[in-house]
């Protein structure tokens, strides 16, 4: 029954994907129709110079009768903060321009006589930009508390990530719809406004890539590649180590890190055991590599998908501006891995046993679905071309992912039920509800306060801002989940990008990518890939404790984030 329901939901959702993606507005400009006659125009911003949307702009007269007040002229600000207020009749001379928006202090500006005269003469008058000040009210504290609770639940693992974020979103709606019965200022935002904070480009990109991964993971390519790596190395661990790190890294750059590690870990354990070496000497460098090289492309990690979509950074931008830095960090990581595992990489092989175990591995490490792998290869190549050329066609990466995934499904014709089960719907719901939680703290002004605080610390100094963002996000990613952290930081980075000289190159977004991605190596809980690797290793009799990972991982964080930072400083300063 459930499978049937999912099937019915799945196909329309693919169609909906295309419709929604093509309907995402590409321009934010003035949408209000201009009227004839006198017009008062202007724009409204907050203290962080971000446009204030949906503020109500009215002209009120203190001496107006209740009927006149009820019929006061009114306009609503657009996505770029602009408003256009048509003035159909004559003004009395005592009018006040009133700008109101939830979570902001109401602004009243008496209209100068000169302006009133020009409006009465039927002219269009453009007012100066106005700044609305934030208001800390009950909704601010409620939204902040909910977000902190969600982060804590995710970090402590008391609730499933999706359930934590879903609960956060539900509480936000309880506060917004039931709260005003107790206190009017408990309103955070409406359901429709909440939906505007969901980044559908991210959702559909992740969904499309999940379908592609679901096809690829069944082919046995990872196991085959790992075994080929062993063959290529001729059984020499010092050569096998960088080859496995490279395979894991490249796979992570295009597929998600967790899936890559889930598939690489069991085969790596077997190769290591056959060679008589400690599996952790291969597994830990692999997961480091996955976290480092994973950020080299737009689609490699959910954090990069978030950053790319918010910062309007293309696939090519990531390749040209970030990938070289990632490769430098990777070279550092290889040397570091050799150093820390130099003793464990010595083989204690029992030749007879090795021969028997290798025989089993060879039988096991085969391509199970060669035809499907070939088709997936062609589609993958086409997707890569579209990712690279897409920006010239105004094609969002999510459109490429959806087209690629659909083409793959049509070509391969897999069991659609199995494919649907392979799409991690809980993750998609996690992202949607997380966007709502982050939207709430953005709406009430918490993000603006954080942005102000960081701006106060770094001033107009790009170097300081780059170092602060990179290291702050790297260190924080070792203790809190990097996806909600990145989602919350994006509006802050957006503000800093618009306010620090030189930051328009989007350097700070790349800093966030390096910090939140490579920061995952700093502790066992820093990245989901670390956790699943530890889970499998433990089931093979090689537990990875928090302290063990910290000892090996934190220096890896310092080395890779350090090298990545140096690259970014050279590139952007």
């Amino acid at each position: 029954m459930m499978r049937r329901l999912k099937k019915w939901l799945f196909l329309p959702s693919l169609a909906l994907a295309a419709i929604l993606l093509f309907s995402i507005p590409t321009t934010s400009g003035q949408a209000q129709a201009a009227s004839t006659g006198a017009v008062l125009a202007g724009s409204v911003f907050d203290r962080q110079r971000q446009a204030v949307q949906e503020a109500i702009v009215t002209i009120q007269s203190p001496g107006a009768s209740p009927d006149e007040a009820a019929g006061a002229l009114q306009a609503v600000t657009q996505a770029d903060g602009s408003y256009l207020l048509p003035i159909p009749g004559k003004l009395h001379g005592d009018e006040i321009l009133v700008i109101q928006r939830t979570h902001f202090q109401t602004l009243e500006i008496p209209l100068a006589l000169g302006i009133i005269d020009r409006l009465n003469a039927g002219e269009a008058v453009h007012m100066e930009k106005v700044v609305l000040l934030r208001q800390i009210n009950a909704a601010f504290w409620v939204a902040t508390l909910i977000f902190v609770v969600v982060l804590a639940l995710i970090a402590l693992g008391w609730l499933h990530n999706t359930l934590s974020a879903l609960m956060g979103a539900a509480l936000i709606f309880v506060a917004s719809y039931l709260g005003p019965l107790v206190r009017a200022d408990l309103f955070i935002f409406s359901f429709n406004d909440a939906l505007k904070y969901i980044d559908w480009n991210v959702i559909f990109l992740i969904m499309g890539m999940m379908i592609v991964i679901a096809v690829v993971e069944r082919t046995g390519i990872f196991q085959w590649l790992a075994f080929r790596a062993y063959k290529l190395s001729g059984g020499r661990p010092w050569l096998l180590l960088p080859i496995l790190m490279l395979i894991t890294g490249v796979a992570s750059a295009f597929l998600d890190n967790v899936t890559t590690m889930l598939l690489m870990t069991p085969i790596t354990v077997q190769i290591a055991l056959s060679m008589g070496i400690n599996p952790l000497a291969l597994l830990i460098p692999e997961v480091f590599s996955s976290n480092v090289i994973g950020i080299s492309t737009l689609v490699g990690t959910p954090t990069n998908i978030l950053i790319g979509s918010y910062g309007k950074i293309s696939f090519n931008d990531f390749l040209t501006k970030l990938t070289p830095g990632v490769l430098i960090a990777f070279v550092g990581l290889i040397f570091y891995s050799y150093w820390i595992f130099r003793k464990d990489l010595k083989t204690e092989a029992d030749e007879d046993m090795q021969a028997l175990l290798m025989e089993k591995l060879e039988k096991q490490a085969v391509i199970r679905e060669p035809k499907n792998l070939k088709k997936a290869g062609w589609i993958g190549l086409a997707m890569l071309i579209l990712f690279v050329t897409g920006e010239h066609l105004q094609m969002l990466p999510s459109v490429t992912a959806i087209i690629g995934a659909t083409a793959l499904l049509v070509w391969i014709r897999p069991d659609i039920d199995e494919m649907i089960e392979s799409v991690d719907w809980t993750t998609l719901v996690f992202f949607m509800t997380l966007f709502i939680c982050v939207g709430a703290i953005q709406e009430v002004g918490l993000i603006a306060f954080i942005a102000d605080w960081i701006a106060g610390l770094v001033g107009n100094n790009l170097l300081l801002a780059m170092l602060a963002i990179t290291w702050f996000s790297a260190l924080l990613s070792t203790v809190i989940a990097n996806i909600p952290f990145t989602a919350a930081m994006l509006p802050v980075i957006g503000f800093l990008t618009g306010n620090i000289t030189g930051a328009e190159s989007k350097a700070l977004f790349y800093c966030l990518s390096i910090g939140s991605g490579m920061g995952g190596n700093g502790s066992l809980i820093g990245a989901s890939a670390n956790m699943v690797t530890a889970g499998i290793a433990e089931r093979a009799g090689y537990p990875i404790t928090y302290a063990y990972f910290l000892k090996k991982g934190f220096p890896a964080l310092l080395i890779t984030v350090g090298l990545g930072s140096i690259w970014l400083l050279i590139k952007f300063l």
Partner: protein, 147 residues
């Protein structure tokens, strides 16, 4: 007695358990059945959609770990076979022991730091009694000096 059920996980901590099972099987002239239980509880908080594919990979890994133990046993002239199951480890040990009417179950000795106090030792004792009641088999551990 129709054999020994030896649940293993692999790694250095399983070595004393494997050795104990082989020694017992050799002295009693009975076969040993190595059991590996695939348990994907660690995916509970993340990748549930991936379980189908991962389960297969984990089965392969379990077979590999048991194969290593089987080779060791055969070298000692002990007949050994491999069982891979999915689910809860305790339940699967009980199920396999009943199925094979095993006379002995060899378990890994819990790490000393985990049984550091009286309460934990009591719990372990209770667990052994429960297992013996459920399976009609004798539960043994490797000697202290073996791990």
């Amino acid at each position: 007695m129709s054999g020994i059920v030896c649940a293993i996980r692999g790694g250095p901590l399983s070595q004393p358990t494997i050795r104990k099972a082989i020694e017992t099987a050799k002295s009693d002239q009975i076969p040993v059945h190595f059991l590996y239980v695939v348990n994907l509880d660690f995916l509970e908080h993340s990748e549930q959609a991936r379980t189908q594919v991962i389960q297969q990979e984990m089965r392969e890994m379990g077979e590999f770990i048991c194969l290593k133990a089987q080779i060791e046993a055969r070298r000692e002239g002990v007949q050994a076979d491999i069982f891979i199951r999915e689910g809860n480890v305790t339940e699967e040990i009980i199920a396999l022991s009943r199925e094979l009417q095993a006379g002995v179950v060899v378990l890994g000795r819990p790490q000393t730091e985990r049984v550091s106090n009286f309460l934990d030792l009591k719990r372990l004792e209770k667990f052994v009694h429960m297992l013996e009641d459920e399976t009609d088999a004798k539960v043994i551990f490797p000697a202290e000096d073996q791990g």
